[in-house]
């Protein structure tokens, strides 16, 4: 009895978090993809790894921090990384993409050091790398809800500015929009979503949930509004199918979610081909 309530709660945490992430990650992902920032999302997820690993190490070695939720340091690392990327992109004006390998290696480098310093959290680490159905705590869920609220407030306040910035950056500046500040806020919010999504899909696959549903939606949508709607639908579909199959087949949800979204992507590519060839029997 107690056992099943316990099971009920961890499933509740995982599914509630999953549904929230399936909504906000592709929603923000639309802007990330059209602004060609997908690789930056990837780099940030590796920085988040450094924060998580550092936090796991700290809670092992500093008694007072034993109960520290690694998500917090993950968030700090991710947001710091996003600000560094902006700094680097301005420093290397003519080689903006150089910021990505720099930040990515920094994240992985620190991550590797903390992982080897700390001992015996390989199972924890596995769940952070590839996601987990069972490891999402109530506290994680609350953090994710908080992040979701920030994303929704941010997008509803700056939606039209973000559209202009994404479609035509120079035009945005010529119109006198505070393009720089909106962009910095955007990067911080992206860093938050990456840190928040990592519990469910895992660090290595976070950026996939921000990009694959969007890639599928862009194949078949006629308007920006439709692209957003379809991205969210595909994201939710991937998370639901992925979490259920991960639970029953005892697989890492990061894998099942991403494979589901790849299948959706292939279906949209395939359906578009059929559509453009006209009626196909069968």
């Amino acid at each position: 009895m107690i056992d099943s309530i316990f099971h009920y709660e961890f499933l509740q945490n995982a599914f509630a978090s999953g549904l929230i992430i399936g909504f906000i990650a592709p929603l923000l992902g639309v802007f990330i993809v059209v602004r060609r920032l997908s690789l930056i999302a990837d780099a940030l997820s590796h920085v988040t790894l450094a924060g998580i690993a550092g936090s796991l190490y700290l809670s092992q070695s500093v008694g007072a921090l034993a109960l520290l939720n690694p998500l917090y340091l993950g968030i700090v690392a991710s947001v710091t990384g996003s600000l560094f990327i902006e700094r680097l992109r301005r420093l290397y004006k003519h080689y903006e993409e150089l910021a990505i390998p720099i930040i990515m290696s920094a994240g992985l480098g620190f991550g590797a050091i903390f992982i080897s310093l700390a001992e015996g959290f390989s199972s924890d680490l596995f769940s952070y790398l590839f996601g987990s159905v069972s490891a999402v705590s109530r506290q994680d869920l609350w953090i994710i809800i908080g992040i979701a609220l920030i994303v929704i407030v941010f997008l509803s306040l700056f939606f039209k500015e973000l559209f202009v910035l994404s479609f035509d950056e120079e035009y945005a500046k010529a119109s006198g929009l505070p393009a720089k500040w909106i962009h910095v806020l955007f990067m911080i919010v992206t860093a938050l979503v990456i840190a928040g999504s990592m519990r469910i899909v895992g660090i290595l696959l976070v950026s996939s949930l921000m990009t694959l549903p969007v890639a599928a939606a862009m194949r078949i949508s006629k308007s920006f509004k439709q692209a957003i709607l379809l991205s969210v639908i595909f994201g939710e579909l991937s998370v639901i199918v992925g979490l259920v199959s991960a639970f029953y087949l005892d697989l890492a949800p990061g894998g099942t979610i991403v494979v589901t979204s790849i299948i959706i992507l292939l279906l949209t590519i395939f359906s578009k081909k059929i559509g453009s060839k006209g009626a196909v029997s069968g």
Binding site: F158, K160, F167, D168, A172, A174, S175, S221, S223, F224
Partner: protein
């Protein structure tokens, strides 16, 4: 001649290594249709960006509507169609309506929604560039010339006093260039929109424009287009490096 809308005083601009503009003085008055012409790399785009406040001049002063450019807040009074619009991301999932509507972003203001009658405004703007039938099309599915018209509609929707265009006919096939300039003429004459245009199609544009500025780091000539043949051979040489055909001054001149 109308009142001056844009004043450039002793503008110079230096990129890290390149001196792009030297000591530019230029006044653009209400109702002008000015073509800025000059060889590649002569600083045309740089000059437009300085007018728009996208680049800060190394020295000199820009006045927009009588105010220094950094104090000028009503950016919606100046519509801009950039050179890069020709090569924007064609895969972007947006309809013509969504793109044109975004021209109201500054006028609407941060934290506000677009006004309730925004669709009517979009239709009007599209109509004035002859694109009202395309409102639901994906922007990437249009031809270069049609996209350029959509970008002009995006600039027009905020009812600007000035329209600034950087080589808008690159990528537009030659048979549509003429109707494109006719449309600009119409905006200039019937809607009293001041137009500043960078172009290479000196012949095609000559019927529409009132003024010419010949630029190559410096302004080598600025005046009514029919005065352009007062340029001496030395001036022409200094401007373009070799003799060029002068603008056809037989065509009608706007009064």
């Amino acid at each position: 001649m109308g009142s001056p809308l844009i004043n450039l005083h002793n503008i110079s601009y230096q990129y890290e290594q390149t001196k792009a503009l030297i000591d530019i003085n230029l006044t653009i008055a209400e109702g002008d249709f000015l073509a800025i012409i000059g060889p590649n790399g002569s600083g045309k785009s740089t000059l437009l960006k300085i007018i728009l406040g996208l680049l800060k001049p190394t020295s000199g002063e820009v006045l927009l509507f009588g105010k220094p450019v950094n104090q000028f807040k009503e950016k919606e009074r100046i519509g801009y169609v950039s050179q890069k619009s020709n090569s924007f991301n064609t895969g972007f999932p947006a309809t013509v309506t969504e793109v044109v509507r975004s021209g109201l972003v500054k006028k609407t203001g941060l934290f506000h929604r677009y006004p309730a009658n925004v669709n009517k405004q979009v239709r009007q703007a599209l109509k004035s560039v002859g694109m009202d039938e395309y409102s639901m099309k994906n922007i990437g599915d249009l031809s270069g010339g049609q996209q350029q018209r959509v970008f002009i509609a995006r600039a027009l929707i905020s009812n600007p006093n000035v329209l600034i265009l950087d080589e808008p006919t690159v990528g537009v096939d030659s048979k549509n260039v003429k109707s494109f300039y006719n449309m600009l003429s119409h905006l200039n004459r019937e809607h009293n929109i001041t137009i500043v245009l960078v172009t290479h199609d000196v012949d095609a544009v000559s019927k529409s424009i009132s003024h010419v500025a010949c630029l190559n780091q410096r302004i080598h000539f600025h005046g009514f287009k029919n005065e352009m043949d007062q340029m001496s051979d030395e001036q022409l040489e200094a401007w373009y490096g070799h003799a060029v055909r002068k603008v056809d001054h037989q065509s009608e001149v706007k009064s």
